[in-house]
């Protein structure tokens, strides 16, 4: 489909709320101050698995300033989105990991709340525990749940996760060679800058929660269900949000804790996690052990892939625990069995493209190794096996993965720079690597309202929360384009369930597609009404009119025109357009955004240190709505991958089962010094199902990054690193052998 000319879409547009963000005026949840507001803190379990026999709060209650204390003996509130396979409460008994919430205190200031935590006396009966996922699946392992540690729980979802197509046995028979190997990834934390915080106040029977959430509508639903309130009596507000990368979807336990504390105290309460709470009290990316069996022809063509894997979900299963890194390849015969497993460790759940980067690392490393063993250039290996069908059968709605590979390789100079792995000599070993990635492009439920005022400016009202992606700006740009008025005439209202319509929430890279489609439909509704009103003014029929850049004109004679404000001068109040859209894929079609990443590294032979010298990220995201923010998304995703590849891993002290690096310094998230210039390419692409042809941007960039880096390190050293993170000590040990 030919791409049409856009007036706002596709340009590099600064964020519509840039002023607020650079002046400190943007109001994040932690900035909310209410009269009489209390501060709350959470007490956490020091034991990995224990029954709570009693909680004595009498000393804490006597501390002046303490207003309310809640715990599992006086609070019976379910955290619906906290457990996919089990009924999880906001305070659980038994506690199942070091960090499981035991009690929360609200007091007149945060220091008193912290003092009070130390005065709460909890009697525990310690239970046997297990920390390793593979250990947890053994028959004699301590059972965290009655049905065992494979996450079947109450049976709401099945485990293991199975996926299969083609004929595996036939595929392996057709293979000239079969390769088997195991790759291991570790738990890493989302580590968003804004600590989780929630402010709750009750006005009679109405609850308002200022939440730091990626989805106000889902948060409202979760809170209403947990506290048995009608939806209309729960208001969730989130104006600015300091990121989450998947760990602030919906409502979390602290939102409910805050509401319950506020109810008990009769005063508003602000609950703030400490940074340590944030690292252990919520979740990070699931660790995995991935066993691959891959059949290939002599020329490298894949004939069959079998993946058996264990993912460590920690004490509760909030999300899938799946591994989906094979999505970007053409695999005629495929079988996957992934076992999400419980251990007495920090919970693992969604973190930016939850099932991808660890899995892409494993499978892209497999293919890179097979290419080496067969004497094939990895570029040819990846190009040859790139995805052509979804799940072995469906067509993609658009697919520019080949352009990503070709253009990215050209940009980095692959053909000139590539050399066989281990061929680099000298004190600094040069390496170059690549991997493929992407993310499902989804269609689904969105809603939007547009109010066009008599002066031709508009309120666009959407339920989105801008978690940093630039979604507010994206929605305003889509509205301006769809309405045909300049961007600066758009005001965006978002993030308040009492005001804004439903939104799926900013997760799974869906906002542009789900809500953007609704914004276009609402704009069409407004335009129809405009043309009705404007037709007599221009002495034409409504269907003969068009509107662009704030000018209403005759399609057949653009000279016949009138400014929008004049054309709608008879409108006294406003024109309201609204839409709820819910498109679905036609049978046999699937959506996906694609990416091919390339990087060069320099490995110091004497220290094992790796320097990323060049990084090129080529993406097929469909039409780019805002080139400025989309580019930033890609750069940021890659930087997160750099942390996961090189340094990040939640370490647990085995004798005490206690996380020992739950903070930025020890978790070693990347700083300015670790981030190279990331060169971003958006290949020409247009998806017929996306708003103005757009697919998605937020999650794809992290997916190939870890595998790309790992393959470059292989190319430099000739050594394959099968466990993340790839730290200097591991490299040094390997290359000195």
């Amino acid at each position: 489909m030919a791409q049409k000319e856009f007036s706002v879409v596709g340009k590099a547009t600064p964020r519509i709320d840039g002023f607020e963000r650079v002046t400190g005026k943007a109001e994040y949840t932690g900035d909310v101050q209410l009269p009489g507001m209390l501060y709350a803190r959470v007490l956490r379990s020091p034991h990995p698995h224990a029954k709570i026999l009693s909680i004595d709060t009498s000393k804490a209650e006597k501390l002046p300033g303490v207003k309310s204390i809640v715990h599992s003996f006086n609070t019976n509130v379910q955290w619906a989105s906290g457990g996919l396979t089990q009924k999880r409460m906001i305070f659980n008994n038994p506690v199942r990991y070091v960090g499981d919430a035991v009690a929360a205190v609200a007091a007149t200031d945060r220091y008193i709340a912290e003092d009070a935590l130390e005065l709460i006396e909890v009697k525990y009966e310690k239970l046997p525990y297990v920390l390793d996922a593979a250990e947890a699946l053994k028959p004699d392992a301590p059972k965290i749940y009655p049905k065992g540690n494979l996450s079947v729980g109450d049976g709401r979802v099945t485990a293991p996760i199975r996926e299969q197509w083609g004929d595996l046995e036939k595929g392996f028979k057709e293979a000239d060679k079969v390769f088997e190997d195991t790759y291991i990834s570790k738990h890493v934390n989302n580590a968003q800058m804004e600590r989780r915080v929630s402010v709750a106040k009750w006005d009679g029977a109405k609850l308002t929660v200022f939440a730091s959430t990626q989805g106000i509508s889902n948060a409202r639903g979760d809170i209403a269900k947990a506290l048995d309130l009608p939806l209309s009596r729960v208001r969730v507000v989130c104006k600015y949000m300091g990121a989450g990368f998947g760990n602030k979807n919906q409502a979390q336990d602290y939102d409910m804790m805050t509401a319950v504390l506020a109810k008990a105290a009769g005063q508003p309460v602000k609950l703030e996690f400490t940074r340590e709470d944030d690292f252990i009290g919520m979740h990070g990316r699931w660790a995995s052990e991935q066993r691959y069996k891959v059949g290939v022809k002599k020329d490298g063509t894949i004939t069959a892939v079998e993946l058996n894997a264990i993912t460590n979900m920690g004490a509760y299963r909030k999300q899938s625990g799946d591994l989906t890194g094979c999505d970007f390849y053409n695999i005629p015969n495929y079988k996957k069995v992934v076992s999400p497993t419980h251990t007495n460790t920090v919970v693992a759940a969604n973190y930016r493209a939850p099932a991808y980067p660890q899995s892409v690392y494993g499978f892209a490393s497999m293919l890179d190794q097979i290419a080496f063993d067969l004497g094939i250039n990895p570029y040819d290996m990846f190009l040859k096996n790139r995805a052509r069908l979804a799940k072995g059968k469906n067509q993609f709605s658009s697919n520019a993965i080949e352009a990503c590979i070709v253009e990215g390789a050209k940009k980095i100079g692959w053909q000139e720079k590539w050399h066989p792995a281990g061929a680099s000599k000298g004190p600094k070993l040069h390496g170059i690597g690549m991997a493929l990635g992407g993310y499902p492009f989804r269609l689904g439920l969105g809603a939007a309202t547009i109010r066009l005022l008599p002066d031709a400016t508009a309120h666009v009202i959407v339920g989105v929360v801008d978690i940093g992606t630039g979604a507010k700006s994206t929605m305003a740009i889509i509205a301006a384009e769809a309405l045909g008025i300049p961007l600066d005439q758009i005001q965006l209202a978002s993030g308040d369930t009492d005001v804004t319509p439903y939104s799926i929430g900013e997760s799974s890279s869906r906002t542009t597609s789900f809500t953007g489609t609704a914004v276009i439909a609402a704009a069409e509704d407004v335009r129809k009404q405009i043309f009705q009103v404007a037709a007599p003014e221009l002495e034409a029929k409504p269907e003969e009119l068009d509107l662009k850049n704030g000018i209403v004109f005759l399609k057949s004679d653009p000279g016949q025109k009138m400014p929008l404000a004049k054309a709608i001068r008879k409108v006294e109040s406003e024109i309201i357009g609204r839409a709820t859209t819910n498109p679905t894929w036609p049978e046999g079609i699937d959506g996906k955004a694609f990416a091919a990443h390339f990087c060069e590294v320099e490995v110091d032979r004497f220290t094992g240190q790796v320097r990323l010298t060049r990084y090129v990220a080529a993406h097929d995201c469909g039409t780019i709505i805002n080139r400025l923010t989309a580019t930033s998304q890609v750069k940021g995703g890659v930087v997160q991958g750099i942390g996961m590849a090189f340094t990040e891993e939640l370490l647990i002290d085995r004798p005490t089962a206690t996380p020992i690096n739950p903070n930025y310094r020890d978790a070693k998230v990347p700083t300015h010094l670790e981030a190279p210039e990331i060169e971003v390419i958006f290949v020409d692409s247009h998806d017929p199902y996306g708003p103005f042809g757009g697919k998605c941007v937020g999650e794809p960039p992290i997916t190939p990054s870890v595998g790309t880096i790992a393959n470059a390190i292989f190319n430099a050293t000739g050594k394959r690193f099968k466990e993340l993170p790839i730290t200097p000590d591991k490299i040094l040990r390997a290359i000195q052998v």
Partner: protein
């Protein structure tokens, strides 16, 4: 306890912050400081409670006298007592730099400075950069170059960038990167933040 020198006001003149009554924290504005009769500091009325002191400091050119708990950090006092919430707290333990402000010309983590140490200090926060609606060049550059993604680290990045430009008006890229290296950005927007600082240097 703090020395009571210079200007003072009686306790009833303290402008109590909304909701802070039970905590006993209080802030006075520049206007109250300059009010007639505000010079003498009556001994009894102003004796702070145990564990508290009165601190005089300048923030963004305005003088403040604030009663603080000894365990309160500058970041908390800026946010909760003075109401300047543009200074964000990301870790509260001197690791992330979201709370960076400029103290007597140097960029520092305000979460790692106790408020009682701030007597006589001049503090510049992100709110003090713009002159009315006219943004500081570094703020404009952060908008133009998409410096903020989620925006939570942005104030800190800007203040470290500003401190760099105050001492070195034309930094190299390596210098800019080094100067911002104490400011984490989990959105990973490092390229953009360095770009913005370099663009601000050119714009001056």
């Amino acid at each position: 306890m703090d020395e009571k020198k210079g200007k003072g006001v009686s306790r009833r003149d303290f402008l109590k912050r909304v909701g802070a009554g039970s905590v006993g924290a209080a802030v006075i504005s520049k206007g109250l400081l300059d009010a007639p009769g505000a010079d003498a500091y009556p001994t009894e009325a102003v004796q702070p409670a145990k564990g508290r002191s009165i601190v005089s400091l300048k923030v963004n050119g305005k003088a403040y006298r604030v009663e603080v708990q000894h365990r309160q950090t500058l970041a908390e006092v800026l946010r909760d007592e003075i109401g300047l919430t543009g200074t964000r707290i990301g870790c509260d333990r001197g690791e992330c730099g979201a709370c960076t402000v400029i103290i007597d010309g140097r960029n520092m983590y305000s979460c790692s400075q106790l408020a009682v140490w701030m007597n006589g200090k001049e503090i510049l926060t992100v709110e003090g950069l713009a002159k009315g609606d006219k943004l500081d060049p570094i703020q404009q550059a952060f908008i133009d170059h998409d410096g903020p993604q989620c925006g939570f680290c942005t104030s800190g990045q800007i203040m470290s960038g500003k401190a760099l430009l105050m001492r070195n008006p034309s930094p190299t890229e390596a210098q800019a990167r080094r100067a911002l290296s104490g400011n984490l950005c989990r959105c990973g927007n490092y390229n953009r933040e360095v770009e913005a600082v370099l663009a601000a240097a050119k714009a001056r």
